[in-house]
Symmetry: C2
Subunit: 486 residues, 2 copies
């Protein structure tokens, strides 16, 4: 108005798509060139080398005058891609970090372009309706007549489960959380966040919560019904194991405890006709955490908290006159303000809805089966290999293994060496008193040859002299030969 | 592996860009066609009509066999766009709901495609480095040597500010929050979430926190230094007003209270050379909430919490052996796990970094100046119009106004009628004992003619007989003429 300068184009409105097209071309070009420059699952050189390249690309971060959109997009997306640990590369298999489907990623673009915010109907008319449909459909996969909230992930879903337990009308006094020693760290962190007592940790000697130990803990703690929340896990972070849900549900019923199941990982098994029985008993939980950015192939974030009794969600009901005044609600304006602790909220539901419709339950189930089958075959490969030891047959798609006879220290070193060389991204876990390398298989495009190659790479890296050993050997040689150490 | 079916393409890896291109074409086409079908700032017909169209497009939400990606993308993005309240339309101006820049939206695509997760270095090598650079650069706009966390928005930033105060080594006993009556609802909700006492509400009779009332409240409450957190607001949700930050900082210093400033809205003024002085005193705050999905033109989410003393952020330090084992940290692997309460975390920093580099401080400052200038001009238009009453000259870009002589009930009705007819999205606020219509101007492309048109539309809608009045009049006519009421 008072300045004649034309502002840069917007992503929305009638001309948004035309403004986006050339910029998306630049983004796609930078993604392609960055991947070529990387040439593997992650960049070589380690943290300082990566940070140096990022600094060079980003500097200055907030210039006085900008470079214009083309240069900024090209430079920074190239740097991010060249420096990515890309889960679409088969040898990037450390964490519950999935390669997103192209269809989900394309759908997510529309969420960014339109920028609906889920905190009031008049910021998200259609997205409000879509979220209600999708959350109910996904909740129904677990509980008939259940409902679900969209979250930023399993961590927020676990927080909300504990909050709902704290606020439930049936809860007496401050709720006490019981978690398996195998549970996700976010549960303990949630208790701290919410100002609740430290959780009681129940032993999980075999990697899954021990029902006898849980029974003992609940009995010892005593207290009236409605004092305790038990959190079980369907798909542990370390080994992908599933707690005995039915037995645990039985104990919760007997002791009058609420049950939450953290199925952030394992929840995806619901889509598989042949594997969903591994989750038997999950429908007896009061709340369930699900993460479609794990076995659902969504870009983050795509978390859910499903509740058996939709009334449990009323604890989040919230009024703010500028968003949902009583008379607006009475006049028929729906709102989702009480469906989250966030206010502004991106419609993560869109990419999920597009994926569900595009693939269907069968298509998603196939992807789940593929990565679980891969894990089974990789485990067989390891088990048959004399240089490796297998932790156990995988329950979902996590395979733990170790070079036979290696020390814990050496295993951590091998993992870091693979990272630094940019050749593979593997995780780690300490279980049964020993350290393991962890491969979490989430890429349905991975082929048997990729996994055989991964094993060969680990074998060679484990057998290679460590840098310190090489230096020590070299120093010894230097001394023998009378040269000056370099 | 065991199944011959070829999985749908991924967004990442060497072939991701090629897989994305045709799907993005479909998404862009659906965005364009959906905007044409909508033909205005939001869909006409009200919530039930919108929900019905969404149900028709989405049904069945989770089919057994999918439709394939093209149909799913086209159908659902079309429905979401046709049913959007699109902030890129000048007459969509209710909330702190900005139209995102095309460049930011294009950048965000790369975040979705690569899916880095910020909770460990080996899921986000370059993104980890980029986040550290950008958060420090933005923090430095407020505090020399400060640091900042990325959040999902002002709500989470306010939560974290309260959490940091609760955990600060200098805090004695349970921290007590003092908020102005004008503060955002998320602060009170945060106290509830964190298990803290209800906040003390300090009067804000003129729409901003009254320093004398704050002084009185702090004196009355007493308690040793380190007992209180005062939350001030730079840009209230209702009127866009800025509390007297310098006076408040002075009082906090005198009483030994911590100071948090919720600058989710007003923080954008920092980019404007001429307007940043409106925030004088903000550098004296311990923590500051910023939202680049407001005056920063980012797709949600792009929140920040800036801290004067980086050591304050140590309260979030967190260990999880699978993500940041001590020996990995000792070996030089950096990690951002302690930079958030989330675990999996999308790199929202990428779109922010690209925007800062593309526009520079000057370019962003221009956008801020443009919307603030618009607001000033719109206010003058209203003030000169005999049919309207202006609340006050805008402090940032929020303009409150009302049809002269209208009742509060009628004003709410006018707003809902505009929404139902699909002609304009305006907000509402109750201030000074009366109800106002609220226009929050965040679209730098809006022209004076758009705002004149908006005013004319509101004038006509306010003057039109209400549905109930029209029906009553019609019924009366019917009776006079002896016809059967329809």
């Amino acid at each position: 108005m008072s300045t004649p300068r034309i502002p840069p184009p917007l992503a929305g409105g009638a001309r948004g798509a035309d403004a986006l097209r050339p910029l998306l071309d630049i983004a796609l070009g930078a993604l392609r060139e960055g991947a070529t420059a990387r040439g593997g699952p992650l960049p070589a050189g380690g943290p300082e080398a990566v940070a140096e390249r990022v600094r060079a690309a980003a500097h200055p971060v907030l210039p006085d005058r900008g470079t214009g959109p083309e240069t900024a997009l090209r430079t920074l997306i190239h740097a991010l891609t060249e420096g990515a640990a890309d889960p679409a590369e088969p040898l990037c298999a450390a964490h519950l970090h999935c390669p997103p489907l192209a269809v989900a990623t394309a759908a997510d673009l529309a969420a960014s372009a339109l920028n609906p915010s889920m905190d009031s109907w008049d910021q998200a008319p259609a997205a409000t309706a879509l979220e209600a449909l999708v959350t109910r459909a996904l909740a129904a996969e677990i509980h008939d007549g259940g409902d679900a909230l969209i979250t930023t992930g399993g961590t927020e879903a676990n927080q909300l489960a504990l909050l709902l337990a704290r606020e439930a009308p049936t809860t007496r006094g401050p709720v006490r959380l019981l978690v398996g020693a195998n549970a996700h760290h976010s549960l303990t962190r949630a208790a701290w966040l919410l100002g609740l007592p430290e959780p009681v940790v129940v032993p999980a000697p075999a990697g899954t919560l021990d029902p006898a130990a849980l029974d003992e803990a609940l009995t010892e703690l005593g207290g009236p019904p409605g004092t305790f929340l038990v959190a079980a896990t369907a798909g542990t972070t370390d080994a992908g194991l599933i707690d005995p849900l039915d037995d645990i549900a039985e104990l919760c019923a007997a002791h009058g405890a609420r049950l939450h199941v953290d199925a952030a990982y394992g929840g995806g098994l619901l889509f598989s006709d042949t594997r969903k029985e591994q989750l038997n008993g999950i429908d007896r939980a009061d709340t369930v955490a699900l993460d479609l950015h794990k076995l659902g192939w969504q870009p983050a974030a795509a978390g859910l908290l499903a509740a058996r009794d939709p009334r449990d969600l009323d604890a989040l009901n919230h009024r703010a006159d500028y968003l949902n005044a009583d008379d607006d609600t009475d006049a028929g304006l729906p709102d989702l303000l009480g469906r989250s602790l966030r206010t502004t909220r991106r419609p993560d539901v869109l990419k999920v809805a597009v994926t569900l419709k595009a693939l269907g339950r069968t298509g998603l189930g196939h992807l789940v089966d593929q990565v679980c089958d891969q894990a089974g075959e990789f485990a067989e490969l390891i088990d048959a290999h004399p240089a490796f030891e297998l932790y156990d047959a995988p329950a979902i798609s996590t395979v733990l293994f170790r070079p036979a006879g290696a020390t814990d220290h050496h295993i951590a070193h091998v993992r870091r060496r693979l990272l630094t060389e940019g050749t593979a991204v593997l995780g780690r876990a300490d279980l049964d008193g020993r350290r393991w390398l962890k491969a979490t298989l989430l890429n349905p495009h991975t082929r048997p040859g990729d996994l055989a190659g991964l094993l060969k790479l680990v074998e060679e890296t484990a057998a290679a002299p460590t840098a310190e050993a090489a230096e020590a050997a070299e120093a010894a040689t230097d001394r023998t030969e009378g040269t000056t150490p370099r």
